[in-house]
């Protein structure tokens, strides 16, 4: 998978699938601190789909990740999910 750079702050399009990302906040207890971020919850997104096999083969973990972008500081990265609808109840838009 080629390295994809995010085009800029405020952008809410997933660089992997081109779909619109959703506004998401972690729970009150979560270490994300309740800050709204963009997360690609597209179940067809290749980044998410390929993540399952990658994590199984590399780390022996039944886990994948979704693309996350923090519009506050332009920082992004993989957000771990243990199931297809994990974290979806944090969607706020």
């Amino acid at each position: 998978m080629a390295e994809k750079k995010f085009s800029g702050a405020g952008d809410d399009v997933c660089p992997y699938c081109g779909k619109k990302m959703r506004r998401w906040v972690g729970s009150l207890e979560s270490a994300w601190g309740f800050v709204p971020q963009f997360v690609c919850f597209n179940d067809e997104c290749a980044y998410y789909i390929e993540g399952w096999e990658w994590m199984r083969s590399q780390f022996k973990q039944n886990v994948s990740y979704r693309y996350r972008f923090n519009p506050d500081n332009g920082e992004s990265g993989p957000l771990p999910v243990w199931s297809g609808d994990a974290l979806k109840d944090g969607i706020v838009d």
Binding site: E3, L28, E29, G33, Y65, G77, P78, W82, S83
Partner: protein, 640 residues
């Protein structure tokens, strides 16, 4: 006195402890020592491979700043810690660790720790600062690197040697004494500089798990306040001794609750089904500005739940069953639901098995099926863990280059992370006012100490003198419990019950009862006041007197005697400092019922203390809380 071989070890730098901070110190010090032809010696009371708080493994590295990747700035981390600790931290120390912690994490990875990454090599973050790891062997990997580094540089390490007292040469540290926990050997370590990294303290307060549950605790039972005792006895100034940590965990086995929130979306609610995080939101206003930040400071989250319990609305349940059933319902058909549940359950149990095995055992033993009924969570008894979300430890110098005109006089004296005792450095749980270091930050702080301590040795390259007669007296006192037992155990038919002595276990129970009832333990709903604290000090004084009559049947009990004497000193420093700070600042850690509110005008400062050797007196000191970074604006704190 019982017969003991006296082993004298002379070294340049002595590292006390073998945990995360000590291993960091060993790696870095070995590197600089080799360059300067110096010798480094490390001493651990246990076996480094599985000693200290990381013994059972961890599933996340809790401090990674991502400076190089531009993820966060040092100031971001300072803001986070400052808010969680209700405004009282040494920003220079937190910043110093934050700017070095990433390289420590990269070392862990180089040494073989599997850190989760996506296919493009980016770390998988559990939260803003947390990296996910396969961490069952975390400590083994970190210890191996430390041992290799020591050996390669011509250094050495001793395992199963328990350190008791510091050796001093005037106002400079000169070494330490200790004893083997396996052989009849007394150790005298002489050194030009000493790094203290013997962890924090557990079992100072009566734990929730008593009786047959004794020994289960959130914090590892083998850290017993050795760092606090050692630094106090050396005459070091201590800070934030009132800032204990109280984790909210599954009741009685202290299993982590995070995965259950995360995986199952379980809510924590009271007996009536109310959610205190929602119902008591307005209470956070009373603790402004800290109450309004996100994430909500750990102690304030505790506080909202405690209010429910105090109103008689407990127990607090983690509603696992409802959450799991909802997931099953959403999964569609029965087969899919079953498969899904199995997967999630495996994840959740794994979370116990790789860091709190006792929780899994307790649930199995009690037929707990989380999919069928809720489990209780509770605020645990207090712990002293300055590297986690508490802040207790020694008052140490910050790095010179981070100081500004205002902080330089108060926060810097010669060497980075050196205590107020010349040549004595402190890291991890042993140093205070720099919370949220966790495993990685403790290792990074150890590395900072390792480098600074070698610099100290190079610039002060003389072996401090040692008063041999005085040290022999200390050794005699160290073994006294064995002599007491030998002399008196025959006087009764049951060696456990004897009018001439007290066994360490009973000593510990008495300490825990005093702390629990008078200094805001679980039974007192974490509340205390001046009258309670005065009474505690009176009872602690009696207990201290009785420490002269401790008895040990063997070396293992001798270790237990010393652990409890050390706990007693941690307890006294804590009690005195809570008494000194006349306000309530961390209501979810403890409350002064005679000063129930926060007092920014008088107490936005450090409450420090010092035991004065020779005089046997305590001194209480206020130190100013000075800023290196502008206070974060409110909109920056709540985000978005």
């Amino acid at each position: 006195m019982a017969k003991f071989e006296k082993v004298e070890v002379t070294t340049d730098l002595l590292i006390l402890g073998g945990g995360m901070a000590a291993c960091g110190a060993a790696v870095e010090a070995a590197y600089w020592a080799k360059k300067n032809g110096l010798k480094v010696t490390l001493v651990d009371k246990a076996a480094m491979d599985r000693s200290g708080a990381v013994a059972m493994g961890l599933s996340a590295i809790n401090q990674y700043v991502g400076l190089h990747e531009g993820k966060n700035t040092v100031k971001d981390y300072v803001d986070y810690v400052r808010m969680d600790l209700m405004g009282i931290i040494r920003e220079d120390l937190v910043a110093n660790i934050a700017r070095h912690v990433d390289s420590t994490v990269h070392l862990f990875e180089k040494w073989g720790l599997p850190i989760w990454k996506d296919a493009e090599g980016r770390y998988v973050h559990e939260g803003r600062w947390q990296l996910m790891i396969n961490g069952e062997s975390y400590k083994v990997i970190v210890a191996e690197a430390a041992k290799n580094a020591l050996q390669e540089a011509g250094g050495e390490y001793f395992e199963r040697v328990f350190i008791t007292e510091p050796i001093l040469d005037g106002d400079r540290i000169a070494g330490a004494i200790g004893f083997s926990t396996r052989e009849n050997k007394a150790y005298v370590f002489r050194a030009k500089s000493v790094i203290v990294a013997m962890g924090g303290a557990v079992h100072v307060f009566k734990p929730r798990s008593t009786g047959e549950g004794l020994g289960r605790a959130w914090y590892p039972p083998w850290n017993s306040g050795s760092s606090a005792y050692f630094t106090l006895r050396a005459g070091a100034e201590m800070t934030s001794q009132e800032v204990r940590f109280i984790p909210v965990r599954f009741k009685d086995a202290y299993g982590p609750v995070g995965a259950w929130f995360l995986l199952f979306k379980s809510a924590a609610t009271n007996a009536m089904g109310g959610n205190y995080m929602i119902e008591r939101k307005d209470e956070l206003e009373s603790w402004k500005p800290y109450g309004l930040v996100k994430p909500i400071p750990a102690n304030l989250r505790n506080w909202l739940g405690m209010l429910d319990v105090m109103e008689g609305k407990g127990p607090i349940f983690m509603r696992t069953a409802e959450a799991i059933q909802k997931i099953a319902a959403d999964a569609g058909d029965e087969k899919a639901a079953k498969k899904k549940l199995k997967e999630l359950e495996a994840e959740a149990w794994e979370d116990f098995l790789d860091m709190t095995i006792s929780q899994a055992i307790l649930w199995a033993a009690n037929n707990v099926e989380p999919e069928k009924r809720s489990s209780e969570i509770a605020a645990a008894e207090p712990y002293f863990i300055g590297s986690h979300s508490g802040a207790s430890g020694a008052w140490i110098s910050g790095p010179e280059d981070l100081q500004n005109g205002q902080t330089k006089n108060d926060y810097f004296w010669g060497y980075s992370h050196m205590s107020t005792v010349k040549g004595m450095f402190c890291a991890g749980d042993a140093s205070g006012a720099s919370s949220h270091k966790f495993s990685s930050g403790s290792h990074a702080e150890g590395r900072i100490c390792g480098k600074a301590a070698v610099k100290f040795v190079v610039e002060n390259n003389t072996l401090p003198s040692m008063d041999t007669a005085a040290v022999d007296k200390m050794i005699e006192a160290q073994f006294k419990p064995l002599d007491v037992f030998a002399e008196f155990s025959g006087k009764t038919t049951d060696p456990e019950i004897n009018p001439h002595y007290i066994k360490p276990k009973m000593f510990m129970f008495r300490l825990q009862k005093i702390m629990d009832e008078y200094v805001g333990g679980v039974s007192a709903q974490f509340a205390t006041n001046k009258a309670c604290l005065d009474r505690a000090l009176e009872l602690l004084a009696f207990l201290k007197e009785d420490s002269a009559n401790l008895a040990a049947a063997d070396l293992h009990e001798l270790l237990r005697c010393w652990e409890n004497v050390q706990r007693l000193w941690q307890a006294e420093a804590h009690t005195r400092t809570i008494l000194f700070r006349e306000e309530t600042r961390w209501p979810g850690y403890y409350r002064r019922t005679d000063f129930p509110t926060m007092d920014e005008a008088n107490w936005h400062c450090f409450a420090n203390c010092r035991w004065i050797p020779g005089k046997n007196e305590w001194e209480m000191i206020k130190r100013p809380m000075l800023h290196l970074y502008p206070k974060a604006q409110e909109h920056e704190l709540v985000g978005g």
